[in-house]
Protein backbone atom coordinates (compact mmCIF):
# COMPACT_ATOMS: atom_id res chain seq x y z
CA UNK A 1 0.00 0.00 0.00
CA UNK A 2 1.17 3.52 -0.79
CA UNK A 3 2.74 5.62 1.91
CA UNK A 4 0.15 7.75 3.74
CA UNK A 5 0.11 11.46 2.91
CA UNK A 6 0.27 12.33 6.59
CA UNK A 7 1.67 10.14 9.36
CA UNK A 8 1.52 11.00 13.05
CA UNK A 9 3.71 8.84 15.28
CA UNK A 10 3.49 8.78 19.07
CA UNK A 11 2.41 12.39 19.33
CA UNK A 12 2.35 13.86 22.84
CA UNK A 13 1.58 17.46 23.65
CA UNK A 14 2.06 19.29 26.92
CA UNK A 15 1.24 22.98 27.14
CA UNK A 16 3.56 25.06 29.33
CA UNK A 17 5.88 22.10 30.08
CA UNK A 18 8.32 24.14 32.16
CA UNK A 19 5.76 25.96 34.26
CA UNK A 20 4.35 24.95 37.63
CA UNK A 21 1.18 23.80 35.90
CA UNK A 22 2.04 21.86 32.76
CA UNK A 23 -1.07 20.57 30.98
CA UNK A 24 -0.75 17.36 29.06
CA UNK A 25 -3.44 17.30 26.40
CA UNK A 26 -2.40 14.68 23.82
CA UNK A 27 -1.23 11.16 24.62
CA UNK A 28 0.52 8.85 22.15
CA UNK A 29 -1.48 9.69 19.07
CA UNK A 30 -0.77 7.45 16.06
CA UNK A 31 -2.73 8.23 12.92
CA UNK A 32 -2.24 7.87 9.17
CA UNK A 33 -4.18 9.78 6.54
CA UNK A 34 -4.24 8.66 2.93
CA UNK A 35 -4.31 10.96 -0.04
CA UNK A 36 -7.83 11.91 -1.08
CA UNK A 37 -9.43 10.72 2.16
CA UNK A 38 -12.11 12.74 3.94
CA UNK A 39 -11.96 12.30 7.72
CA UNK A 40 -13.69 13.91 10.64
CA UNK A 41 -12.45 14.38 14.18
CA UNK A 42 -15.09 14.48 16.89
CA UNK A 43 -14.94 14.61 20.68
CA UNK A 44 -16.00 16.64 23.68
CA UNK A 45 -14.91 20.20 24.21
CA UNK A 46 -11.37 20.20 25.58
CA UNK A 47 -10.54 16.72 24.28
CA UNK A 48 -7.64 18.09 22.21
CA UNK A 49 -9.08 18.34 18.70
CA UNK A 50 -7.81 21.82 17.86
CA UNK A 51 -4.46 21.06 19.45
CA UNK A 52 -4.15 18.00 17.22
CA UNK A 53 -5.18 19.93 14.12
CA UNK A 54 -2.64 22.67 14.83
CA UNK A 55 0.06 20.02 15.12
CA UNK A 56 -1.15 18.35 11.92
CA UNK A 57 -0.90 21.70 10.17
CA UNK A 58 2.59 22.35 11.60
CA UNK A 59 1.27 25.52 13.24
CA UNK A 60 2.41 24.05 16.54
CA UNK A 61 5.04 21.45 17.43
CA UNK A 62 4.36 18.34 19.50
CA UNK A 63 6.25 17.86 22.77
CA UNK A 64 7.34 14.48 21.43
CA UNK A 65 6.58 12.35 18.39
CA UNK A 66 6.89 12.89 14.66
CA UNK A 67 4.74 14.23 11.82
CA UNK A 68 5.62 13.23 8.29
CA UNK A 69 3.98 14.85 5.32
CA UNK A 70 4.54 13.22 1.93
CA UNK A 71 7.13 11.00 3.59
CA UNK A 72 9.13 13.95 4.91
CA UNK A 73 9.70 14.32 8.63
CA UNK A 74 8.76 17.86 9.61
CA UNK A 75 10.80 17.86 12.85
CA UNK A 76 14.05 18.61 11.06
CA UNK A 77 12.61 21.50 9.04
CA UNK A 78 13.45 25.10 9.83
CA UNK A 79 10.78 27.72 10.46
CA UNK A 80 11.10 28.96 6.90
CA UNK A 81 10.92 25.51 5.40
CA UNK A 82 7.84 24.79 7.48
CA UNK A 83 6.02 27.92 6.45
CA UNK A 84 6.79 27.26 2.83
CA UNK A 85 5.52 23.66 3.18
CA UNK A 86 2.37 25.01 4.83
CA UNK A 87 1.76 27.60 2.21
CA UNK A 88 2.15 25.15 -0.68
CA UNK A 89 0.63 22.01 0.79
CA UNK A 90 -1.93 22.90 3.43
CA UNK A 91 -5.06 25.02 3.35
CA UNK A 92 -6.73 26.04 6.61
CA UNK A 93 -10.37 26.80 7.33
CA UNK A 94 -11.09 28.00 10.85
CA UNK A 95 -14.37 28.47 12.64
CA UNK A 96 -13.67 32.17 12.93
CA UNK A 97 -12.51 32.69 9.44
CA UNK A 98 -9.80 35.29 10.04
CA UNK A 99 -10.53 37.15 6.85
CA UNK A 100 -8.99 40.58 6.57
CA UNK A 101 -12.12 42.61 7.28
CA UNK A 102 -11.39 45.70 5.21
CA UNK A 103 -10.30 43.74 2.17
CA UNK A 104 -12.64 42.48 -0.52
CA UNK A 105 -13.55 38.83 -0.99
CA UNK A 106 -11.24 38.65 -4.02
CA UNK A 107 -8.32 40.21 -2.15
CA UNK A 108 -8.78 37.77 0.70
CA UNK A 109 -8.77 34.81 -1.67
CA UNK A 110 -5.58 36.10 -3.30
CA UNK A 111 -3.78 36.41 0.04
CA UNK A 112 -2.05 32.97 0.17
CA UNK A 113 -0.75 33.57 -3.32
CA UNK A 114 0.60 36.98 -2.43
CA UNK A 115 2.41 35.51 0.56
CA UNK A 116 4.20 32.96 -1.59
CA UNK A 117 4.89 35.12 -4.66
CA UNK A 118 6.01 38.71 -4.97
CA UNK A 119 3.78 39.48 -7.91
CA UNK A 120 0.14 38.82 -8.51
CA UNK A 121 -0.19 37.97 -12.15
CA UNK A 122 -3.29 37.82 -14.30
CA UNK A 123 -3.38 34.07 -13.94
CA UNK A 124 -3.66 34.31 -10.16
CA UNK A 125 -6.54 36.76 -10.50
CA UNK A 126 -8.26 34.39 -12.87
CA UNK A 127 -7.81 31.46 -10.48
CA UNK A 128 -9.13 33.49 -7.52
CA UNK A 129 -12.17 34.51 -9.55
CA UNK A 130 -12.80 30.92 -10.54
CA UNK A 131 -12.66 29.87 -6.91
CA UNK A 132 -15.12 32.57 -5.90
CA UNK A 133 -17.36 31.38 -8.70
CA UNK A 134 -16.97 27.82 -7.43
CA UNK A 135 -18.23 28.84 -3.98
CA UNK A 136 -21.05 30.86 -5.54
CA UNK A 137 -19.81 34.35 -4.66
CA UNK A 138 -19.03 35.91 -8.04
CA UNK A 139 -21.54 38.67 -7.35
CA UNK A 140 -19.85 39.52 -4.07
CA UNK A 141 -16.22 39.41 -5.10
CA UNK A 142 -15.67 43.15 -4.64
CA UNK A 143 -17.52 43.42 -1.33
CA UNK A 144 -15.41 43.95 1.77
CA UNK A 145 -15.35 40.89 4.04
CA UNK A 146 -16.87 42.75 6.99
CA UNK A 147 -19.97 43.47 4.94
CA UNK A 148 -20.67 39.81 4.22
CA UNK A 149 -22.78 37.30 6.17
CA UNK A 150 -21.19 34.56 8.27
CA UNK A 151 -21.93 31.89 5.65
CA UNK A 152 -20.55 34.07 2.85
CA UNK A 153 -17.38 34.75 4.83
CA UNK A 154 -17.04 31.03 5.42
CA UNK A 155 -17.23 30.43 1.69
CA UNK A 156 -14.59 33.10 1.08
CA UNK A 157 -12.40 31.27 3.60
CA UNK A 158 -12.91 28.02 1.69
CA UNK A 159 -11.99 29.69 -1.61
CA UNK A 160 -8.94 31.17 0.09
CA UNK A 161 -7.87 27.79 1.46
CA UNK A 162 -7.90 26.46 -2.12
CA UNK A 163 -5.90 29.27 -3.68
CA UNK A 164 -2.55 27.49 -3.74
CA UNK A 165 -4.04 24.12 -4.77
CA UNK A 166 -3.13 22.46 -1.48
CA UNK A 167 -2.89 18.69 -1.07
CA UNK A 168 -4.45 18.91 2.37
CA UNK A 169 -7.23 21.00 3.85
CA UNK A 170 -7.56 21.20 7.62
CA UNK A 171 -10.81 22.62 8.89
CA UNK A 172 -11.70 23.44 12.50
CA UNK A 173 -15.49 23.61 12.87
CA UNK A 174 -15.98 24.94 9.33
CA UNK A 175 -19.74 25.07 9.84
CA UNK A 176 -19.62 26.05 13.51
CA UNK A 177 -22.35 28.64 13.76
CA UNK A 178 -24.19 28.23 10.50
CA UNK A 179 -27.80 27.12 10.01
CA UNK A 180 -28.38 23.58 8.76
CA UNK A 181 -29.06 24.53 5.11
CA UNK A 182 -25.85 26.57 4.88
CA UNK A 183 -23.99 23.77 6.66
CA UNK A 184 -25.20 21.34 4.00
CA UNK A 185 -24.09 23.72 1.21
CA UNK A 186 -20.63 24.13 2.73
CA UNK A 187 -20.23 20.39 3.22
CA UNK A 188 -21.19 19.74 -0.41
CA UNK A 189 -18.63 22.32 -1.47
CA UNK A 190 -15.88 20.61 0.53
CA UNK A 191 -16.87 17.22 -0.91
CA UNK A 192 -16.78 18.68 -4.39
CA UNK A 193 -13.24 19.93 -3.84
CA UNK A 194 -12.27 16.55 -2.41
CA UNK A 195 -13.61 14.71 -5.48
CA UNK A 196 -12.44 17.22 -8.09
CA UNK A 197 -8.88 17.77 -6.87
CA UNK A 198 -8.32 14.61 -4.78
CA UNK A 199 -7.67 16.95 -1.85
CA UNK A 200 -7.27 15.30 1.55
CA UNK A 201 -9.64 16.66 4.20
CA UNK A 202 -9.46 16.50 7.96
CA UNK A 203 -12.41 18.26 9.52
CA UNK A 204 -13.18 18.86 13.17
CA UNK A 205 -16.92 18.97 13.67
CA UNK A 206 -19.56 18.86 16.35
CA UNK A 207 -22.17 18.33 13.69
CA UNK A 208 -23.36 14.76 13.43
CA UNK A 209 -24.88 15.43 10.01
CA UNK A 210 -21.42 16.30 8.68
CA UNK A 211 -19.46 13.62 10.50
CA UNK A 212 -21.70 10.76 9.37
CA UNK A 213 -21.11 11.72 5.74
CA UNK A 214 -17.32 11.60 5.99
CA UNK A 215 -15.34 8.44 5.20
CA UNK A 216 -13.77 8.10 8.59
CA UNK A 217 -14.68 9.23 12.10
CA UNK A 218 -11.97 9.63 14.71
CA UNK A 219 -13.10 10.30 18.25
CA UNK A 220 -10.73 11.92 20.71
CA UNK A 221 -11.38 11.43 24.40
CA UNK A 222 -9.19 13.12 27.00
CA UNK A 223 -6.37 13.49 24.49
CA UNK A 224 -6.45 9.91 23.23
CA UNK A 225 -7.92 8.27 20.15
CA UNK A 226 -10.95 6.52 21.62
CA UNK A 227 -12.32 5.14 18.36
CA UNK A 228 -11.41 5.30 14.71
CA UNK A 229 -14.03 3.95 12.31
CA UNK A 230 -13.80 3.86 8.54
CA UNK A 231 -16.85 3.56 6.32
Amino acid sequence: MAEPLIRLKNINKTYNPDSDFPTKVLFDINLDFNRGSFSSIIGQSGSGKSTLLNILGTLDRPTSGTISINGKDTASMSKNELSSLRNKTIGFIFQFHYLLPEFTALENVLMPHQISKEQTDAEAYKHAEELLDFVGLTKFKDNPANEMSGGQQQRVAIARSLMNNPDIILADEPTGNLDSDTTETIYKLLRDVNKTYDTTFIVITHDRKIAEKTDRVIELKDGRVDSDFTK
Binding site: I42, R208, E212, V217, S227, D228, F229, T230, K231
Partner: protein, 215 residues
Amino acid sequence: MSKSHYDTFIRHLDEEDKEAAVRYAWNLLDKGDLSVEKLYLDFIKPSLNNFSCTHEDKDICIWKEHRRTSIIRTILEISYFFVMKRRQNIPKAGQSVLVVCPEEEYHEIGAIIATHFFTLNGYDASYIGANTPKEQITKAVQTFKPDLLALSVTNYYNLVTTKKTINALKDAYPKLKIVIGGSAFHSLNARNQLDHDFYIDDLNKIKTILGGSQR
Protein backbone atom coordinates in the same frame (compact mmCIF):
# COMPACT_ATOMS: atom_id res chain seq x y z
CA MET B 1 -39.47 -20.55 -3.96
CA SER B 2 -39.37 -19.55 -7.56
CA LYS B 3 -38.06 -16.53 -9.34
CA SER B 4 -41.54 -15.70 -10.59
CA HIS B 5 -42.80 -15.43 -6.99
CA TYR B 6 -40.05 -12.95 -6.26
CA ASP B 7 -40.74 -10.99 -9.43
CA THR B 8 -44.43 -10.72 -8.61
CA PHE B 9 -43.62 -9.58 -5.06
CA ILE B 10 -41.23 -6.91 -6.35
CA ARG B 11 -43.75 -5.74 -8.92
CA HIS B 12 -46.30 -5.09 -6.15
CA LEU B 13 -43.66 -3.14 -4.23
CA ASP B 14 -42.62 -1.16 -7.30
CA GLU B 15 -46.24 -0.25 -7.84
CA GLU B 16 -46.46 0.67 -4.15
CA ASP B 17 -49.53 -1.52 -3.95
CA LYS B 18 -49.47 -2.28 -0.26
CA GLU B 19 -52.59 -4.41 -0.22
CA ALA B 20 -51.41 -6.61 -3.09
CA ALA B 21 -47.89 -7.01 -1.63
CA VAL B 22 -49.18 -7.91 1.85
CA ARG B 23 -51.80 -10.31 0.49
CA TYR B 24 -49.26 -11.97 -1.79
CA ALA B 25 -46.74 -12.53 1.00
CA TRP B 26 -49.47 -13.84 3.30
CA ASN B 27 -50.69 -16.33 0.70
CA LEU B 28 -47.20 -17.66 0.03
CA LEU B 29 -46.62 -18.21 3.74
CA ASP B 30 -50.10 -19.63 4.35
CA LYS B 31 -49.90 -22.15 1.51
CA GLY B 32 -46.46 -23.18 2.64
CA ASP B 33 -44.91 -22.09 -0.66
CA LEU B 34 -42.44 -19.99 1.27
CA SER B 35 -40.87 -20.20 4.73
CA VAL B 36 -40.59 -17.06 6.84
CA GLU B 37 -36.80 -17.38 6.71
CA LYS B 38 -36.88 -17.35 2.92
CA LEU B 39 -39.34 -14.47 2.92
CA TYR B 40 -36.86 -12.46 5.02
CA LEU B 41 -33.63 -13.39 3.29
CA ASP B 42 -34.66 -13.98 -0.32
CA PHE B 43 -37.53 -11.52 -0.69
CA ILE B 44 -37.40 -8.71 1.86
CA LYS B 45 -33.63 -8.28 2.12
CA PRO B 46 -32.97 -7.91 -1.63
CA SER B 47 -36.09 -5.78 -2.07
CA LEU B 48 -34.55 -3.23 0.30
CA ASN B 49 -30.92 -3.60 -0.79
CA ASN B 50 -31.66 -3.45 -4.51
CA PHE B 51 -34.04 -0.56 -4.23
CA SER B 52 -32.90 1.87 -6.85
CA CYS B 53 -34.72 4.99 -7.68
CA THR B 54 -34.57 6.38 -11.17
CA HIS B 55 -35.84 9.81 -10.26
CA GLU B 56 -33.47 12.66 -10.82
CA ASP B 57 -34.88 14.35 -7.78
CA LYS B 58 -33.20 12.64 -4.82
CA ASP B 59 -35.81 13.81 -2.33
CA ILE B 60 -38.41 11.76 -4.17
CA CYS B 61 -36.17 8.71 -3.75
CA ILE B 62 -36.06 9.19 -0.01
CA TRP B 63 -39.79 9.23 0.53
CA LYS B 64 -40.20 6.35 -1.92
CA GLU B 65 -37.73 4.33 0.10
CA HIS B 66 -39.62 5.15 3.28
CA ARG B 67 -42.87 4.15 1.61
CA ARG B 68 -41.39 0.79 0.64
CA THR B 69 -40.03 0.29 4.14
CA SER B 70 -43.46 0.91 5.60
CA ILE B 71 -45.01 -1.79 3.38
CA ILE B 72 -42.23 -4.20 4.38
CA ARG B 73 -42.86 -3.40 8.02
CA THR B 74 -46.48 -4.49 7.71
CA ILE B 75 -45.42 -7.73 6.01
CA LEU B 76 -42.97 -8.34 8.86
CA GLU B 77 -45.72 -7.87 11.43
CA ILE B 78 -48.07 -10.31 9.73
CA SER B 79 -45.24 -12.83 9.33
CA TYR B 80 -45.03 -12.99 13.12
CA PHE B 81 -48.23 -14.99 13.07
CA PHE B 82 -46.34 -17.74 11.21
CA VAL B 83 -43.38 -17.43 13.57
CA MET B 84 -45.76 -18.06 16.51
CA LYS B 85 -47.28 -21.06 14.76
CA ARG B 86 -43.87 -22.61 14.13
CA ARG B 87 -42.54 -21.82 17.58
CA GLN B 88 -44.87 -24.34 19.23
CA ASN B 89 -42.97 -27.17 17.58
CA ILE B 90 -39.47 -25.84 18.17
CA PRO B 91 -37.47 -27.15 21.14
CA LYS B 92 -36.58 -24.41 23.64
CA ALA B 93 -32.98 -23.28 23.56
CA GLY B 94 -33.11 -22.24 27.21
CA GLN B 95 -31.50 -18.92 26.33
CA SER B 96 -32.88 -15.41 26.14
CA VAL B 97 -31.88 -12.52 23.93
CA LEU B 98 -32.71 -8.83 23.70
CA VAL B 99 -32.37 -7.21 20.28
CA VAL B 100 -31.95 -3.45 20.04
CA CYS B 101 -30.71 -0.57 17.87
CA PRO B 102 -28.47 1.95 19.67
CA GLU B 103 -29.14 5.66 19.96
CA GLU B 104 -29.71 7.46 16.64
CA GLU B 105 -30.02 4.19 14.71
CA TYR B 106 -33.39 4.24 13.00
CA HIS B 107 -32.99 1.31 10.59
CA GLU B 108 -34.80 -1.46 12.40
CA ILE B 109 -35.99 -3.92 9.76
CA GLY B 110 -32.83 -6.02 10.23
CA ALA B 111 -33.26 -6.02 14.00
CA ILE B 112 -36.88 -7.16 13.79
CA ILE B 113 -35.96 -9.93 11.35
CA ALA B 114 -33.09 -11.02 13.62
CA THR B 115 -35.52 -11.20 16.56
CA HIS B 116 -37.77 -13.53 14.56
CA PHE B 117 -34.77 -15.67 13.61
CA PHE B 118 -33.77 -15.98 17.25
CA THR B 119 -37.32 -17.02 18.08
CA LEU B 120 -37.29 -19.65 15.34
CA ASN B 121 -34.07 -20.99 16.82
CA GLY B 122 -35.79 -21.61 20.16
CA TYR B 123 -34.67 -18.46 21.95
CA ASP B 124 -36.83 -16.40 24.22
CA ALA B 125 -36.30 -13.28 22.08
CA SER B 126 -37.54 -9.71 22.51
CA TYR B 127 -37.03 -6.70 20.34
CA ILE B 128 -36.66 -3.44 22.26
CA GLY B 129 -36.70 -0.83 19.51
CA ALA B 130 -34.82 1.62 17.31
CA ASN B 131 -32.86 4.62 18.64
CA THR B 132 -32.38 3.34 22.21
CA PRO B 133 -29.93 5.27 24.46
CA LYS B 134 -27.34 3.20 26.30
CA GLU B 135 -28.87 3.96 29.72
CA GLN B 136 -32.17 2.46 28.53
CA ILE B 137 -30.43 -0.59 27.11
CA THR B 138 -28.63 -1.07 30.43
CA LYS B 139 -31.95 -0.81 32.30
CA ALA B 140 -33.55 -3.35 29.98
CA VAL B 141 -30.68 -5.78 30.63
CA GLN B 142 -31.03 -5.19 34.36
CA THR B 143 -34.73 -6.04 34.18
CA PHE B 144 -34.74 -8.95 31.72
CA LYS B 145 -31.33 -10.46 32.57
CA PRO B 146 -30.89 -11.91 29.08
CA ASP B 147 -28.07 -14.28 28.14
CA LEU B 148 -27.41 -12.36 24.94
CA LEU B 149 -27.74 -8.77 23.83
CA ALA B 150 -27.87 -8.24 20.07
CA LEU B 151 -27.07 -4.82 18.60
CA SER B 152 -28.14 -4.01 15.06
CA VAL B 153 -26.36 -1.08 13.39
CA THR B 154 -26.64 0.18 9.81
CA ASN B 155 -25.10 3.67 9.79
CA TYR B 156 -21.36 3.46 10.45
CA TYR B 157 -21.31 6.73 12.39
CA ASN B 158 -23.38 4.99 15.07
CA LEU B 159 -20.42 2.70 15.79
CA VAL B 160 -19.10 5.47 18.03
CA THR B 161 -22.18 5.14 20.25
CA THR B 162 -22.21 1.37 19.82
CA LYS B 163 -18.74 1.15 21.31
CA LYS B 164 -19.75 3.22 24.35
CA THR B 165 -22.90 1.12 24.75
CA ILE B 166 -20.98 -2.16 24.64
CA ASN B 167 -18.34 -0.91 27.07
CA ALA B 168 -21.00 0.19 29.56
CA LEU B 169 -22.78 -3.18 29.28
CA LYS B 170 -19.60 -5.23 29.61
CA ASP B 171 -18.63 -3.20 32.68
CA ALA B 172 -21.95 -3.73 34.40
CA TYR B 173 -22.64 -7.28 33.15
CA PRO B 174 -19.36 -9.08 32.40
CA LYS B 175 -21.17 -12.36 31.65
CA LEU B 176 -23.55 -10.86 29.11
CA LYS B 177 -22.74 -12.05 25.58
CA ILE B 178 -22.78 -9.37 22.92
CA VAL B 179 -23.96 -10.15 19.39
CA ILE B 180 -23.43 -7.61 16.60
CA GLY B 181 -24.97 -7.50 13.16
CA GLY B 182 -25.79 -5.04 10.38
CA SER B 183 -24.01 -3.37 7.52
CA ALA B 184 -22.04 -1.00 9.78
CA PHE B 185 -19.94 -3.98 10.91
CA HIS B 186 -18.76 -5.08 7.48
CA SER B 187 -15.27 -3.75 8.05
CA LEU B 188 -12.95 -5.87 10.15
CA ASN B 189 -11.39 -2.68 11.49
CA ALA B 190 -14.76 -1.76 13.01
CA ARG B 191 -15.32 -5.18 14.56
CA ASN B 192 -11.84 -5.22 16.03
CA GLN B 193 -12.62 -2.11 18.05
CA LEU B 194 -15.77 -3.57 19.57
CA ASP B 195 -15.80 -5.98 22.46
CA HIS B 196 -18.22 -8.55 21.05
CA ASP B 197 -18.76 -12.29 21.37
CA PHE B 198 -20.54 -13.07 18.10
CA TYR B 199 -20.74 -11.38 14.74
CA ILE B 200 -23.73 -12.34 12.61
CA ASP B 201 -23.30 -11.49 8.94
CA ASP B 202 -25.76 -14.19 7.90
CA LEU B 203 -28.87 -14.81 10.01
CA ASN B 204 -28.62 -18.55 9.35
CA LYS B 205 -25.54 -18.43 11.59
CA ILE B 206 -27.69 -17.75 14.65
CA LYS B 207 -27.84 -21.55 14.96
CA THR B 208 -24.10 -21.68 15.58
CA ILE B 209 -24.25 -19.32 18.59
CA LEU B 210 -25.71 -22.04 20.80
CA GLY B 211 -22.80 -24.22 19.83
CA GLY B 212 -20.56 -21.86 21.79
CA SER B 213 -17.91 -19.38 20.95
CA GLN B 214 -17.64 -18.44 17.32
CA ARG B 215 -15.14 -15.63 17.64
